[in-house]
Symmetry: none
Subunit: 196 residues, 4 copies
């Protein structure tokens, strides 16, 4: 029963449904940026604002805040998968792409070892799926007898590197990530986004 008292004098353009997909993408991009600067707990309104859309749009596309984070993650994971699917993909190179995402969006995989305590089973399940997809992508390329061949070895190492990643600038974070891989005795290709 809560009607706006005044009929909303001038209303910014409604560009119609065609932009829906574009908006969704804009939201994901905005979310990634906001997460980078303000962390995963950043207000959703900030994300909407940066994406240049109303808050309602955010809620239309993502039911809750974890859905946003998952969508960002999904993007990252997809890139890793694409890198792994490339013709001449080598393990070290895909690891480089993965590492790039670790450094670029500190949020990445932040969910993958979710606090555990708090529940949110739905989101957790989703995160597990994403984690599994990363693992599959990597494992296919894992050389015979590699240090990380042990079951769980792969994702444990990824979690460890993600723990090592931290710092004010991407450069610092990259440096630490590479040092971490070296400490694990694992060779990494160039740290960069896929494509290329």
């Amino acid at each position: 029963m809560a009607q706006p008292l005044e009929p909303a004098e001038r209303r910014p353009a409604n560009h119609g449904p065609k932009v829906a997909a574009r908006n969704r993408d804009a939201l994901i991009v905005a979310a990634r940026e906001i997460y980078a600067t303000h962390g995963l707990d950043a207000p959703l309104s900030a994300i909407a604002r940066r994406a240049g859309v109303g808050q309602g749009v955010l809620y239309r596309h993502f039911p809750d805040r974890t859905a946003v984070a998952i969508a960002v993650l999904e993007e990252n994971v997809r890139q890793v998968e694409q890198a792994a699917a490339a013709e001449d993909a080598a393990f070290a190179d895909v690891l480089g792409v993965l590492t790039w995402h670790l450094t670029e969006s500190a949020a990445f995989l932040g969910l993958l070892h979710a606090n555990g305590a708090t529940g949110h089973t739905e989101a957790l399940a989703h995160a597990l799926v994403l984690s599994g997809r990363v693992e599959s992508a990597l494992r296919r390329l894992l050389p015979e007898g590699h240090r990380l061949s042990a079951p769980d070895g792969l994702m444990l190492a990824v979690a460890m590197v993600s723990g090592a990643v931290g710092g004010p600038t991407r450069e610092v974070r990259e440096h630490r990530a590479v040092a971490a891989w070296r400490l694990l005795g694992v060779e990494v290709g160039p740290v960069r986004p896929f494509e290329g």
Copy 2:
């Protein structure tokens, strides 16, 4: 306007400075428990409540929420230092104590590689000091030519293990922590708190 209806209801006794210290400790204990169950973003009121004191007391002892977290950390660090100061302290054993804290309070070191971005320089500086204290304590015991001898190697490894730690129960977290150390080729003593 405010006539005191009842002549001095009953006012919690003021037990003087003796209790002040006790309160501070109770707050830190409470904070650790709350952090464990609800994460670092738990409301301060919950901490005060669990400590059995008013919120004002919390603010008397800690200027803001990071101060509380730092105080908890401080405790953890102190225990590591004590373990390292023990007569017959061995590197692996101290690592075990450190690891116990990593698994017990997931918050531990959560600050140490704080997002960096957002500022809070004061807290950051404090965290750096704590990090340095852990490093000194460990490095003194580091055997000649150990894998982690390289400058930064030590704390990088700790960060990595802290990244690996995650899971619903402490047992799971311990298991993962140990696996992480193994992956680093580092031997760890029993994972347990320090007992004088």
Copy 3:
């Protein structure tokens, strides 16, 4: 900026005015159901969704949320009128039909004694008209010297019964309605919808 990526996706057919009327009916039916399950404050979007139409259609047919409610009421009133217009209509039977509507859509007449205070004069006027139509329909059949013959007696009684109607299931509500009429010393026919 907005290049149409796909050359005319597929656009819901425009079935012309024939469907418009069907849509209106569907909306009223949907509204009745939604009101029954979620109350008069249910979101309009829910009504449109259940009717299987876009929200725009709802607004094409009804200027605002009260218009929807009024339309539903209108339906109810029409049925009572039809019952009263039947060849062999008896007062008690029409009362039965009216009672059925009271129990079936608790919303019914919810508007008729609207809070009054808040204005919405337009809707109020409409409700008064509907109330008047019910009254006329009933009064024509009112036996000479009936308990409710007094001016206002009729609609007052209806309001009273509607106040008594409440409960989790239609059966409970019917039971209470019948009890209420009995308490008023008024005989009611079978409680059921009108069937031409």
Copy 4:
């Protein structure tokens, strides 16, 4: 982690805990007034504003919106009980007091025959208790062989009268209420608040 960016320049007086009870009362009074003018769905912020307190205070005293409504009801019920407990209380007089509350706060007993559908078991249970208290208070005074002696007769009648009560001014509502009781063949004493 959401600190106010600016430390709240000037802060209205905090009059200390002593006013807590006064605030609670003010909230109930405010709620009654707001309910009267805007209905039970009025924004809680309006109630807080009218009570002259911050919204937080409202939430401190009442966990949710039904708690507020219940508190208002509780007050009404208490008055009826007091009227019934008076030395020379007569059934008709207590009915008058009850009726006064029905006309004064249209919300009264609005909850007592709650929509049923929506659940809210807690609130419903509370409402049932209140309803029971009203019934007991009245039944004790019910003359032998009264029209409303039948089990349920009493509260059914109350519900009916409450259904009849509606209108722009209290006078109108009182008039209708009295007419409703007359239609039920029940004598009512003067319609007024208790005490007197």
